[in-house]
């Protein structure tokens, strides 16, 4: 069951995990862009950690604050997209103090839709959208937290394997064209780490 407390626990794990993968994300982003993705996630994670002792019980309010932690600490694309997705989830959960794990897929899909609109990218452009969509699809109909975790991770890793050989078609990486072939998209990797962080193994 998703509640203020389970959300807070998940976010605390996520923030810690981000600290440990920051260098990896910076390095990957540095090969194709400006090398700030790790910084974005660490700063966002830190701001989220500061919220946890005082998180609202209303899941909508809670997720809105988490979204704002990202808009406040970074102007980089991934931070803004993350905030955009979180706001969609916040909207969906507004006024509720609990949600069932079975709602996970719908929440991911809601985030996917607004992030697609915000970023004007599409499936296949080799962005975080591809992994997000894959996770939303793979978790449809699942109810058990552990099952959801495994399905989402498997789908994300599979998507990354499938997309690795493609050209980036959006953002900074696009202009480096050829160079992006054979490299993971940094945003996909960040999403993978967000999943790993938030859901206990």
């Amino acid at each position: 069951m998703l509640t203020r407390d389970s959300l807070a626990a998940g976010l605390a794990r996520l923030a810690n995990h981000m600290d440990s993968v920051a260098d990896e994300l910076n390095a990957l982003d540095g090969q194709l862009g400006d090398g700030d993705l790790g910084i974005t996630m660490v700063r966002g994670g830190r701001a989220v950690r500061d919220l946890l002792s005082d998180l609202p019980v209303d899941l909508g309010q809670a997720l809105l604050q988490v979204a704002q932690a990202f808009t406040r600490t970074s102007g980089s694309s991934f931070g803004t997209l993350t905030a955009t997705g979180l706001m969609a989830a916040a909207k969906a959960l507004k006024g509720r103090e609990a949600a069932d794990w079975s709602e996970t897929s719908a929440l991911l899909m809601a985030a996917f839709e607004v992030m697609r609109m915000r970023g004007k990218a599409d499936l296949g452009d080799k962005t975080v959208l591809d992994t997000l969509h894959a996770a939303a699809t793979a978790t449809e109909g699942l109810t058990d937290a552990a099952e959801i975790r495994t399905a989402a991770l498997t789908a994300v890793i599979g998507t990354m394997d499938r997309m690795r050989g493609k050209h980036a078609r959006i953002g900074r990486a696009r202009i480096f064209g050829e160079k992006s072939v054979g490299l993971d998209d940094p945003g996909m990797r960040a999403f993978l780490h967000m999943l790993r962080g938030i859901a206990p193994p």
Partner: protein, 330 residues
């Protein structure tokens, strides 16, 4: 590429502190984490506000152009990085005089997402927004994908023209239209001879071999049209004019900017200008208000850009109207 700095992470904040300390008659620091520069005086009620925003390291772009006849407020990111959504929202609040706010900025993915999201936020506060995105760099995409082009020095024309239109009392639709027409009227192309250093990165963003240059390179080091041996000034200028004039016809009244990316001195801009002028005049154009200098830079990057701006009566009047900021007075 050595730099004069303290803590690299304080580069932008110290720069803004110095800017406002030096020119309190123009600039006021406000907004989330002090990352908004607004005009010293609050916006006149009923005037359309104009905001811009983007990464630092391009002075006078963006921040420097806050002032009468230009921008009302500007959100400032780290060097070459987008400001945050909150900072952009604060810039829009500072530029709100009740008649709506035009967002006028360069075509970079992060800036677009953030300005859109910031717009969603301030529209909840009953601030009406419009948007014009600059995409004047012809080297960054072919003309059939012109909407993918980056915004570079042509931005300065849009700031000037929109700023004059707002000062003249046009409403939000009118100012937005003036800005859009300025954006449509501009074409730019640049070349780089050497890189610059982002303070937090600590080493040059890219490398161009001694004796080489890159034509069409972007202001953050984005790849250009070709890289090869350094040509003579006249050859470089001719090629740039070829690229610009092939993309769009220019005739009648045309303004031109020969802009240093930073290290290239005005002496060399004037050498380039001889050819620019000859080519435009051969194409039957008359040059209005040539702008030769450092208008849109990348810190200590070496290289230059040429921007052509096709005028009509309105655009010319707004271009030549008075403006005032620490970096540019007309």
């Amino acid at each position: 590429m050595k730099k004069v700095l303290n803590d690299p992470f304080a580069y932008v904040d110290e720069m803004l502190a110095g800017l406002c300390a030096a020119h309190p008659e123009y600039y006021r620091q406000t907004g989330d984490q002090g990352r908004v520069i607004a005009r010293a005086l609050p916006i006149r009620s009923g005037k359309v506000g104009i905001v811009s925003g983007g990464g630092s390291g391009h002075l006078p772009v963006f921040t420097g152009y806050v002032g009468p006849g230009l921008l009302d407020a500007c959100a400032i990111g780290d060097v070459f990085a987008s400001p945050s959504v909150d900072q952009m929202a604060d810039a829009m609040r500072a530029a709100n005089g009740g008649a709506g706010v035009l967002r006028l900025y360069g075509n970079y993915g992060g800036d677009i997402m953030n300005f859109d999201m910031a717009g969603d936020i301030v529209e909840m506060e009953d601030i009406t927004c419009s948007t014009v995105v600059l995409a004047d760099d012809v080297a960054s995409a072919k003309s059939d994908e012109a909407e993918k082009r980056r915004g570079v020095a042509g931005m300065v024309y849009a700031f000037k023209i929109a700023g004059a239109a707002a000062e003249a009392g046009l409403d939000l639709a009118g100012v937005t239209d003036a800005a859009q027409r300025a954006a449509n009227a501009c074409r730019s192309v640049g070349f780089a001879l050497s890189s610059c250093t982002v303070p937090q990165a600590g080493r040059p963003t890219f490398q161009i071999d001694e004796g080489d240059m890159e034509m069409g390179m972007g202001i953050h080091g984005e790849p250009g049209v070709w890289r090869g041996p350094l040509r003579k000034a006249d050859v470089i200028a001719e090629e740039m004019m070829d690229i610009l004039l092939a993309d769009r016809a220019f005739s009648g009244r045309v303004s031109v900017m020969v802009n240093s990316l930073g290290a290239t001195p005005p002496e060399e801009l004037y050498i380039l200008y001889r050819i620019v002028k000859a080519r435009l005049e051969a194409a039957g154009a008359q040059i209005v208000m040539p702008l030769i200098g450092r208008y849109a830079t990348s810190m200590e990057m070496s290289g230059a850009s040429i921007t052509l701006c096709q005028l009509d009566d309105h655009l010319e009047r707004w271009l030549c109207a008075p403006c005032d900021c620490a970096f540019w007075k007309v």
